[in-house]
Point group: C2
Chain length 273, copies 2
C-alpha cells in the first residue's frame, strides 16, 4: 500500500434513490462517525447511481486514494443491484458463485420455506477472492476484499442490516488495523458574541494547533441573541495529549469570548461517543 493511503477512508453510498432525493442517506454519517472514532480520516463520501460504469469509476478512485473503502447498497436480488458486479469490474476480477455466501443465502430462504431462484443465487455472486460477510438481519451477504493493502467492503443499504454487519464483522477488523489515534472533544457555548467576531481568534487557534479541529456553529439568532457552539476535536496517539490539547484550546476560547463581552453558557469535554 502506498503510504499516503494509510488511515484514510472513503465511503460510496450506491443507489438511484439517493440521487433523486427520495431518501436521506443516514448510513454514511453513521459510518463516518464510526470510522472517525476508530481513528480513520474519512476524506470522501461519494453517492453514485445504480450505473455500472459510474460505480466502477468511483470504486477505482476510492482504491487509489484510501486504505478503507466502504460501499453501501446495491447487494439485493433486483436488476438494479449492481454493486458487486461493479466491484469485480473495477478490480478486473470475475464475479463468481461463492459457496460460503450461497450457504448463507440458502439458509436465509430455507427458514421461510422459500425456494432458491436465479435472483436469490445472484446475491451469492461475489468478486473472485472476496470473503462473504454474514448478514444477520437480511438476505444479502456483504463482501470483503483486501487488495493492494486496502480493504474494500460492500455493505447492504438497509440501515439495520448495514449497522449490524459493520459492528459485528467489520469493526473488529478495522480496529486492529486502525492508526493509533485517540480523540477528545470539548464544547463551549457562548452567548453574546457573533461568529464573525470570534472568527479571527479561532483561525489563530486552528493554525497554532493543527492536530485539533475547531468549528463554530451559530445557534441563536445572529441579530438579537447570538449563541455560538464551538467544538474542539483533538486527535493524538495519546489520549492524554488529546485531552490536554482540547482543554487548552477551550480555555483560550473562553478567555477571548469573555474579552469580547460574551457570556459562557456551558462547557463540557468527553470522548466522542
Amino acid at each position: 500500500m502506498s503510504q499516503d493511503k494509510k488511515g484514510l477512508a472513503w465511503i460510496i453510498p450506491i443507489g438511484n434513490e439517493l440521487l433523486i432525493g427520495r431518501i436521506v442517506d443516514t448510513n454514511s454519517a453513521w459510518l463516518a462517525r464510526r470510522l472517525t472514532f476508530l481513528g480513520y480520516k474519512v476524506i470522501r463520501i461519494v453517492k453514485v447511481p445504480d450505473d455500472l460504469d459510474e460505480i466502477v469509476e468511483e470504486v477505482r478512485r476510492g482504491l487509489s486514494r484510501a486504505e478503507v473503502i466502504l460501499t453501501t447498497g446495491g447487494l439485493g436480488p433486483t436488476y438494479d443491484d449492481k454493486t458487486l458486479e461493479a466491484v469485480a469490474k473495477a478490480l478486473e476480477r470475475k464475479l463468481v458463485l461463492n459457496e460460503e455466501a450461497l450457504k448463507m443465502v440458502e439458509s436465509f430462504y430455507k427458514k421461510k420455506n422459500l425456494p432458491m431462484t436465479k435472483e436469490r443465487i445472484k446475491m451469492a455472486m461475489l468478486p473472485e477472492g472476496s470473503k462473504p460477510i454474514p448478514n444477520e438481519v437480511g438476505a444479502a451477504p456483504g463482501a470483503l476484499i483486501e487488495v493492494e493493502g486496502s480493504i474494500l467492503a460492500s455493505l447492504p443499504g438497509v440501515p439495520a442490516e448495514m449497522k449490524t454487519m459493520f459492528e459485528k464483522h467489520l469493526q473488529p477488523l478495522l480496529e486492529e488495523r486502525a492508526p493509533p489515534r485517540k480523540l477528545w472533544e470539548c464544547s463551549i457555548q457562548i452567548k453574546g458574541v457573533p461568529e464573525s467576531s470570534l472568527a479571527p481568534f479561532l483561525e489563530e487557534m486552528a493554525r497554532k494547533y493543527p492536530k485539533s479541529y475547531i468549528k463554530s456553529h451559530p445557534k441563536g439568532h445572529e441579530i438579537k441573541e447570538p449563541i455560538l457552539d464551538v467544538r474542539i476535536l483533538s486527535a493524538s496517539e495519546s489520549l492524554d495529549e488529546a485531552k490536554k490539547l482540547s482543554e487548552k484550546i477551550m480555555n483560550s476560547i473562553e478567555a477571548e469570548a469573555k474579552r469580547l463581552g460574551g457570556e459562557i453558557v456551558s462547557k463540557s469535554c468527553k470522548a466522542p461517543d
Copy 2:
C-alpha cells in the same frame, strides 16, 4: 458545452463536519429532489472536507461532467470556509472583492449595528466574473458562475439559508434551462410476495421501459409478512406520456403480483412533490 453534460447535475456538499459524521446532510437530498423535479438528472453527490485541493479536484470533476454544479457550505467568515477560494482556483480565476456582494454583507451587519471586519469582508470575496446570490436569511452571499455552458452555484450550508436562496434565486434560472422533462410517479403496495420473487418481472419491465425508474422497497418482515412498496417514476417530454408509462407499468406489476398470490394493499399515482 459538450452535449453529454446537458441536463446532468452534480452536488458537492463541503465541510469536515459531514466527513466526521457529526451532521447528517439533509441538504443534498433536498437539492437532488428539486433538481430531479426540474428535469435534471443528478449523477453524483460528493461530500468533501474543508481542504482547498480536495475541493478544487471535485469542482473540476463536476464542471467536466455536468451542466449544473451546486456546492453547499463553506461560505462563512471562518478560516475553514474555503469554498469560493477553491472555486476560483478550480477555474484559474482570481478571488476578488465583489462590490455587489460587499453591499449585501454590509447591509446585513449594519442592521445589527456591527462593524465590518476582515472576516466579514471575506464573505464578499468571490471568484472573478461571478454574480453574488442574495442571502435573505444569513450573512454570506452565494456565488453564481457560468462557465463553458455549465452553471456553478455555491450555496450556504445552513439549510434555511440554502433553501431560500435556491428557491428564490436559482430555481427560476434552472427552470428556464431545464431539459423539457415531465415526471409521473405511481406506487403500489403488495402484501405476500417476497422481493426476490417479483424481481425477475421488475427486471423485465425495467428493460422494456428505459424511460421509467422502477424500484422495490421491502417494508414488512421478509419472513413472516413481506410487504413490498414498488415505485415507478417515469420521465418524458410530455406529461401525458409519463402518466401512461407509469400507469401501464403499475398495472402490469399488479397483474404479476396477483399471479404470484399477492394482495394489493394500495395503489396511487401523482406528480412527485
